[in-house]
C-alpha cells in the first residue's frame, strides 16, 4: 500500500513475553469477539419483540452447551475489555506510566476480569443455570 519502502519493526516472536504485551493483544482480540457478540444482543431483543416462540428458540440456543461456552467466553471478553478499557482511560489521562505501575495494572486487569467472570457465572450456575 505504501509507495515508499518503510522499515518494518521486528516481528513479535523475537521479544521476550511480558504481561503488557498480553494485555494489549487481548484488548484487541476481546474487542473483535465482543463485536460479534453485539449481534447476539440484537438477536435477543428482536426475538423478544417477535413473540414467545422466537424468544423461546433464542433461549434454547443460548442455553445449549455450545451457547453456554460462547456466553462464558463473551462474559470474560466483556469484563476484560471493561477492566483494560478503564486502565487505558487512566493512561489516556496521563497516569500510571511508570513501568512498575504499568505491569501491576496489567495483572490487575487480567485477574480482575477473571474474578468478575467467576462471580457472574458462580451466580448463574448456583441459581440453577441460564435460561
Amino acid at each position: 500500500m505504501a509507495e515508499t519502502q518503510r522499515p518494518l519493526s521486528p516481528h513479535l516472536q523475537i521479544y521476550k513475553w511480558q504481561v503488557q504485551m498480553v494485555t494489549s493483544i487481548l484488548h484487541r482480540a476481546t474487542g473483535i469477539a465482543l463485536s460479534v457478540g453485539t449481534l447476539i444482543v440484537v438477536w435477543g431483543l428482536v426475538s423478544l419483540a417477535a413473540g414467545e416462540d422466537a424468544f423461546h428458540q433464542f433461549k434454547i440456543c443460548m442455553g445449549s452447551p455450545l451457547g453456554m461456552i460462547l456466553m462464558i467466553g463473551w462474559t470474560w471478553s466483556l469484563f476484560y475489555h471493561l477492566c483494560n478499557g478503564i486502565r487505558h482511560l487512566v493512561q489516556d489521562a496521563g497516569a500510571g506510566y511508570a513501568i512498575a505501575q504499568f505491569v501491576r495494572s496489567s495483572w490487575l486487569t487480567v485477574i480482575g476480569s477473571l474474578v468478575l467472570t467467576l462471580i457472574v457465572w458462580g451466580y448463574v450456575l448456583s441459581a440453577g443455570g441460564a435460561a
Binding site: 500500500m1 509507495e3 484487541r28 474487542g31 473483535i32 465482543l34 463485536s35 453485539t38 449481534l39 444482543v41 440484537v42 431483543l45 428482536v46 423478544l48 419483540a49 417477535a50 414467545e52 424468544f55 423461546h56 462474559t75 466483556l78 471493561l82 478499557g85 478503564i86 487505558h88 482511560l89 489516556d92 457472574v120 451466580y123 448463574v124 441459581a127 440453577g128 441460564a130 435460561a131
Partner: protein, 131 residues
C-alpha cells in the same frame, strides 16, 4: 495525493490542523466518549440480564418496556455499535493491506452496525409501545 504535481503545498501543510484525513482527533475522542458511556451501560446491561435469568417471557418484556430500561437499552445499542465500528476500523486499517478489500470491509461493518442499531431500536420500541 503526493503524485499530484500541481499541489505545491508542503506535505506538512496538509497534515497540520485537522491532519491529512481532515477529521482531526474525532475518531480518538469519540472512541473514548463511547467507552465511558459503555462502562456504565455495560455494567447496567449485565445486571439487567442477570435479573431476568429466571423470569419468563412476560417478565422479560415487562422489564424492557419500562421507560428507563427502554431508553438505556437504546443508548446501549447506539454506543456499543458505534464503539465497535471505531475499534474494528482500526483493526481493518492495521491488517488489511489491499486497498479495495480494506475500503469494502470498512463500508460493510458500517452498514451492518447501522442495520443492527435500527433493528434493535425498533425491537425495543415495539416492546415499549406495546406493539
Amino acid at each position: 495525493m503526493s503524485a499530484n504535481a500541481k499541489d505545491l503545498r508542503n506535505p506538512l501543510k496538509r497534515a497540520r490542523g485537522l491532519g491529512s484525513a481532515q477529521s482531526g482527533v474525532g475518531h480518538w475522542w469519540t472512541q473514548r466518549t463511547t467507552a465511558v458511556a459503555l462502562i456504565v451501560l455495560g455494567v447496567w446491561f449485565v445486571i439487567l440480564v442477570l435479573g431476568l435469568l429466571h423470569g419468563d417471557y412476560a417478565t422479560a418484556r415487562a422489564a424492557v418496556a419500562k421507560p428507563w430500561n427502554a431508553v438505556l437499552l437504546i443508548a446501549f445499542l447506539v454506543s456499543m455499535f458505534w464503539h465497535a465500528v471505531l475499534g474494528l476500523q482500526v483493526v481493518i486499517e492495521d491488517y488489511v493491506h489491499t486497498r479495495w478489500k480494506e475500503v469494502t470491509l470498512l463500508v460493510v461493518i458500517k452498514f451492518i452496525a447501522v442495520l443492527c442499531v435500527l433493528a434493535g431500536t425498533l425491537a425495543v420500541l415495539r416492546i415499549a409501545l406495546g406493539a
